[in-house]
Symmetry: C3
Subunit: 330 residues, 3 copies
């Protein structure tokens, strides 16, 4: 046990890790993309990049040994919960998975603040997914331990936005100067709203391509415009594909359309195929938050520009970085 | 691996831990509060206290490294299963969670003895939650590995009673000489029955405050009385609040009442508020097994006498102690 | 961390373990019993035997520290998923459990190849249970990481067949020369088909005892016969029990019969009791894939020939061996 304690504080030969209570994110909650400035992002992405190096070199390390993460998911999200589980385990920590909130006493009338204050008796950090907007902020108000928002209703999903941005940075080598085209359902897509907001910290050009019914909401456009980011709307990808550096594809859901025929018509015109992509740059990338259901042809998967599965992997590194940061390890 | 084996048996600088097959609880089942005498409780709480010290000092330690706990929950109880998971993980062990018994082959007609004998092929200790009274004893009869009863029907939930008692001990510094008032639903509350039984090992005075409909059952009162513990029943908290050292609040469930108006009337008269608590001692504590649904006002949470969230944390230490004990580590 | 990396590669004093990319099963998928030859089985069972020794001597070891297994179960199988979880944890690795595929985004129309390619971003090996025959092969075609088939529809369940064979080897000391009698539902039992196929790599005599309705399928009999393995069919166990070295009992399910009376008649005639077993050899064994529902009387459980719970434990060692093998550790 002496040895172990020593390990927790030992000087890492690769990274300047340690138990640093003066670390910039120590004990902080991760609630919204709005909480980050440019310097914060640089810091987070620097750590995420180092996580990537470490995973590739040694697979796992004991930075968070002895720390416990509770994955509190009021609605299921296999992908997000798995990603946080893997992130915690790759750092040597443990996970308490709570995926069945609907069956449990937690659901039987107990308030979110009480649930949080109970679970933090066992845990060092809580990842929360909740269907109601504002839940993460409520949890953070009552909790003593860091809360990481893994999606609260139509509100925020900040770790998704961070991993999207990290993907652009790692794949393109920079964010400034890029033309980023968002495609598909831009009205209901929480993902594209958060990413667009985060991109206002950089010098980018944004294109929005969607059916009339699913245009980027006016308030988001205004918010982005206020930051002097050039934006343009289109209904066809053809007009902007050739200039695009990052094509961010989202799913167009059938349920959004009153008339199924409208859906079928629209759907076909936003499918990414190898043929279509002959018109795109050779050094651009295609992203997608996944799961996809037909928006990108599987024939395109082996194209080096298909970045969507790598995007999942970057998510692991970003979540590792966030866990290490809020627990004061870097 | 040599190093690891050595760790398992190494002399702990803080505690006299090791692989002791002569340890008093080695290989034992934890089935009922009735199995413990005063010396047992002293021993368990001594270890639980040391666990608390260790967690606060180093967070985690590898006492149960290589040991596997199976959490076999035939009915959901997020709080209890999470607490055992955290306890095992803080001791360096691993957990196999089986929360979905209803969907699995385990549920398809297999007998509990067969399920236990199958799962113990993989595990070193099994925590069992089952809706039928007597299941834990049945499991223990057939199993070779220790069984810890995490609640069997209207029967026992011994680890809850132990953590309640440990909370009193840690918060008040003693149990003897205290006046303990139990409030709310004393008829159906498994928790208060077990705690009352356990308290007969000490010199305490017990007050029961409940609506007429939800009085402490006659057989429990007789059992306690046979041990010469002074008991008194009340319908109003006012009569005893000022003398109370420990106020144990339980939930009054609406379903217990035929007439909803009766419920509403009763409910209001048992709500703990800051105003009400001005009449109580300054060094008393308020406990609750949680979840609460209105029995204690959230306005009272910041009062130092509000011990119910700390009670959750003491549960962690008691469960760590029990796991270490039955696995022969102390 | 330096220390940890060193551990991963250190020379094990007991076994010749290490990070061997030239290891014979490194990176391989485990999809079907048909992929193994006699030498493969010898190798796998040699490692499984060493795993057994290690577990008994030290309980656990860090051979797969830092490796992550995803348990991707599209249909529930507590027993199989628990076994793989325990195997991974006993080797020091971590597990991402995905048991709720039906509720999650994974189920919302995403293709199996996409799910596999997403999850392998976080994991080093994936154990897949899926209701559709051929799913494991499909997953392996798209995945970069090893896939272990934990049952795909009426197709294969190779790790069950391997553990059955390992049980025979460990309990009887050999496979060649044995008379193996399969009893019960031989028509629908995936288990007996796979085991029979695997046994053609040895010199054995096979007896099939079943009701007329549930006979071993003609194509399996032909396949076995082509390998020149002697086979014989019976409707009564009496005719072959005395000569049997291994009695493999399976469950006869009521649903297979149109007439419930036929079921009751048949059922009774295939129940293993202590009385019946007085006619069997003293050094034979009785196996069962479990769960049982009355096919073997609980009165027989304490007989040393009752090998079915030990069979579960052998499953742990076989799965530990397979995980270590595909991850290149031996």
């Amino acid at each position: 046990m002496t040895i172990q304690t020593a390990n927790l504080n030992q000087v890492n030969p690769y990274l300047p890790f340690g138990d640093r209570q003066d670390a910039p994110f120590y004990g902080k909650d991760i609630l919204s993309v709005k909480q980050f400035n440019h310097a914060d992002l640089n810091y987070i992405f620097g750590v995420a990049h180092e996580m990537q190096e470490m995973v590739r070199r040694v697979g796992t390390f004991d930075m968070l040994k002895g720390k416990i993460l509770t994955n509190l998911f009021y609605e299921p999200s296999t992908r997000t919960s798995s990603s946080f589980t893997a992130a915690m385990e790759r750092l040597g920590g443990s996970v308490i998975p709570i995926n069945e909130v609907r069956y449990s006493s937690v659901a039987k009338g107990e308030s979110l603040p009480d649930t949080i204050r109970s679970l933090e008796c066992y845990s060092d950090v809580i990842v929360l997914r909740h269907p109601e907007t504002g839940s993460a902020a409520l949890a953070a108000q009552y909790g003593r331990k860091p809360i990481i928002n893994a999606g609260d209703g139509t509100g925020e999903h900040p770790t998704q936005a961070l991993l999207d941005l990290f993907t652009i940075l790692e794949e393109m080598g920079r964010v400034n100067g890029l033309t980023i085209t968002m495609l598909g359902d831009l009205k209901y897509g929480r993902t594209v709203h958060s990413l667009a907001r985060l991109l206002t910290l950089y010098n980018v050009k944004l294109n929005y391509v969607s059916p009339e019914l699913l245009r980027m909401p006016a308030d988001v456009i205004k918010e982005i415009g206020d930051k002097l980011i050039p934006q343009a709307e289109y209904t066809s990808l053809d007009e902007v594909l050739a200039q695009t550096d990052v094509l961010y594809v989202t799913r167009v859901q059938k349920e959004r359309f009153e008339n199924p025929e409208d859906y079928e018509k629209v759907r076909g015109s936003y499918v990414i195929t190898p043929e279509l992509m002959t018109k795109a740059k050779s050094d651009m990338i295609v992203m997608h938050p996944l799961p996809r259901v037909g928006e990108i042809s599987m024939d395109f998967d082996d194209d080096p520009r298909a970045a969507y599965f790598r995007q999942m992997e970057y998510g692991l590194y970003v979540r590792m970085a966030l866990l290490a940061l809020v627990l004061g390890k870097t």
